[in-house]
């Protein structure tokens, strides 16, 4: 037992490093809270964690701590992903001015602790651990949304988030208790075994439990019936925090959802304990009160609803931040497309899309942060004539927005192309049509920002005292750095490497 315990500890070294980093930043911030010092300290811990994760990735995949956690390629991908995305968030927060002074060290400490929670979300394989990691992430997210204590909008968003989040996690825990009652097991593999051995399909209460648990996952990734919190929270939270919310917890939530769907709800064959591409099919029947629907089909309707909800609401937004929040909802719908085919092959499309989405969404939010700080707000009016004031921001913003639409010479197109191919290869033509219609709807509100930036004269001048920050060369460099992969992947340079990597990472350890 001791040996297994110590062996398991080796596999969670990155998480331990991140946790110690969080404490170190919190304590050292008491004496020296200069921004440069805190940011470099946090970066050091992130780099150490990435190094430790490289070391962990050399080990054999397997269960840790008696099936509570699982270390496999899929979890490793998301651990790398969240660490890198959170490191980018720390730098974005460093360059923006919305969080400063004494709160900064606490803020960075919370970001590090949040990374711990997110990477545990990526590797948890046990309902209790899933709940624990989701709660770690949620509670820190509430604090981060309300980090500006004297800002009424920030407080409002934190309160809305708390109310919504506790409701969702309450429902999720209830669902988990039903799952435990029906199957007698808490780890996902045993639930999968139960489902496989159930003679006449699983009982109704089991499916109610699954749906309630799905509510908790859906709230983290902001899909349709559980998306209401997104615009309000994003609008009120400081923009660097909203940037992070739109990428990191979403990706980790997708990791959980995919793992739960594949490991617990799929009937698949394994090879050497690994469930890899092409061997599993998610065609489990969801039987509720006599009516029967396939689980992927159910996800398909959710995905369609999410796309329409996000895109139609985004049409009416005056604030660019709110528009990006609704676009984040719509993108959750697009990403869900990869899970609706019931085939493990299309999950690699999800992984690839998440990488692309991180780059383009960070870029779009980064320009929004700069404009908001320079002009006082981020409404469409502030973006008017940006090309005359700061051409580099206007051009890069156009690249990010075109990438978000999915126009051909940009990376977003490549991501969407893979998702569409995945759906079309299963002959789901109606679904592909709906997704195509939604891409067209989204064209309108993204291009509206581009039109305003290029065609109108500047209305709002840069505030006094903000010119220096607006001209800051590091910020310009950062925005160009984010724009480069959008173009490179769009025209096919380094694209194959990323796609192959995302294909390799779809491999789940399910035990022998």
């Amino acid at each position: 037992m001791t040996e297994e315990f110590l062996k398991s500890l080796h596999h969670i070294v990155p998480q331990i490093i991140l946790f110690i980093g969080s404490l170190t930043v919190m304590m050292l911030g008491l004496w020296k809270s200069s921004k440069v010092f805190i940011t470099s300290l946090a970066t050091l811990f992130f780099v150490l964690a990435i190094g430790a994760q490289c070391y962990v990735s050399e080990m054999n995949p397997g269960f840790l701590f008696k099936n509570i956690l699982v270390d496999d390629n899929f979890g490793r991908f998301f651990t790398y992903f969240v660490i890198i995305v959170m490191m980018m968030s720390v730098w974005v927060s460093h360059l923006s001015q919305s969080i400063k002074g004494k709160t900064y060290s606490d803020y960075i400490s919370m970001l590090l602790a949040l990374t711990t929670g997110l990477s545990f979300m990526a590797i948890s394989n046990h309902l209790l651990m899933i709940y624990l990691s989701i709660e770690t992430v949620s509670i820190l997210s509430y604090c981060l949304a309300g980090i500006k204590k004297d800002h009424s909008k920030s407080n409002e968003s934190a309160l809305k988030y708390v109310v919504y989040g506790s409701m969702a996690s309450g429902l999720m825990v209830y669902g988990m208790s039903l799952l435990y009652g029906m199957t007698g097991a808490l780890d996902l593999n045993s639930i999968g075994t139960f489902l496989g051995s159930a003679q006449e399909g699983a009982p109704t209460l089991f499916w109610i439990g699954v749906l309630l648990t799905f509510v908790g996952f859906g709230y983290k990734i902001a899909i349709a019936p559980m998306h209401m919190w997104t615009p309000d929270v994003y609008e009120g939270a400081p923009t660097p925090v909203a940037t992070m919310f739109s990428v990191a917890p979403k990706a980790a939530g997708f990791a959980l959802l995919i793992r739960a769907c594949v490991v617990a709800l799929a009937k698949g064959e394994t090879e050497g304990g690994l469930l890899t591409m092409g061997y599993a099919h998610l065609n489990t029947e969801l039987a509720l009160f006599g009516s029967q629907i396939l689980w992927p089909e159910f996800l398909m309707y959710i995905s369609m609803l999410t796309m329409f909800m996000g895109n139609l609401a985004a049409l009416l937004q005056k604030s660019v931040k709110r528009m990006l929040a609704y676009s984040a909802i719509a993108h959750a719908g697009y990403i869900l497309m990869g899970l609706c085919t019931g085939d493990l092959k299309s999950i690699s499309a999800i992984l690839f899309y998440l990488i692309v989405y991180a780059v383009m969404n960070f870029g779009a939010f980064w320009v929004t942060i700069k404009v908001e700080e320079a002009k006082g707000d981020e409404s469409l009016n502030s973006f008017k004539g940006l090309i005359f004031q700061k051409p580099i921001y206007a051009i890069c913003m156009t690249i990010f927005l075109c990438s978000l639409i999915g126009l051909p010479p940009f990376a977003g197109f490549m991501g969407k192309y893979q998702l569409f191919i995945a759906v079309l290869s299963k002959k789901m033509y109606l679904f592909a049509l709906v997704a195509g219609i939604n891409s067209v709807i989204s064209l309108y509100y993204y291009i509206k920002v581009v039109r305003v930036m290029f065609m109108d004269q500047p209305e709002v001048e840069v505030l006094k005292g903000q010119e220096k920050a607006f001209n800051c060369p590091v910020s310009k460099f950062a925005v160009v750095l984010l724009a480069i992969p959008n173009i490179l992947w769009g025209i096919g340079i380094y694209l194959d490497e990323v796609v192959l990597m995302s294909k390799k990472m779809v491999s789940f350890f399910v035990g022998i």
């Binding site: 037992m1 001791t2 315990f5 110590l6 404490l23 919190m26 304590m27 008491l30 029906m182 009982p203 109704t204 209460l205």
Partner: protein, 125 residues
């Protein structure tokens, strides 16, 4: 009907019966009981002494801060109990677990120090 749901029928029956008894008892008291009001009966009960002040007093938010900090430490101490109870069975792993508890105490101390340092425990700031 689902066999699992059928098994639960006694439970639902019990819930229903309990609700009928609870609501029924309240209603019977309301309809059948005699009502005699007097001034002292309607006044607020404050341990027998004459009530003073309004009922809607404001309480300083600092009380909540102290309460929340207390709750955190209370919870952390509660985590020590399972270790103490399972100590007999931890023959070989005992020292390792003890080491982890040491780490746990370290975090404990760090958080207490943090509270002192940001002056969370001082009443007047």
């Amino acid at each position: 009907m689902d066999p699992v749901l059928l098994k639960l029928i006694p439970l639902f029956a019990m819930i229903g019966f309990t609700m009928i008894v609870a609501i029924g008892a309240t209603l019977i008291g309301r309809f059948l009981g005699p009502r005699k009001y007097s001034k002292s009966k309607m006044s607020t009960y404050e341990c027998g002494i004459p009530p003073t002040g309004g009922a809607r007093d404001r309480i300083s938010v600092k009380y909540y801060l102290v309460a929340i900090l207390f709750l955190l430490f209370d919870l952390e101490v509660a985590y020590l109990l399972p270790v103490a109870l399972a100590w007999d069975q931890l023959s070989t792993v005992g020292p390792i677990i003890l080491g982890f508890m040491g780490f746990f105490f370290l975090f404990f101390l760090l958080s207490l120090f943090y509270e002192f340092k940001i002056k969370a425990l001082e009443w007047e700031r």
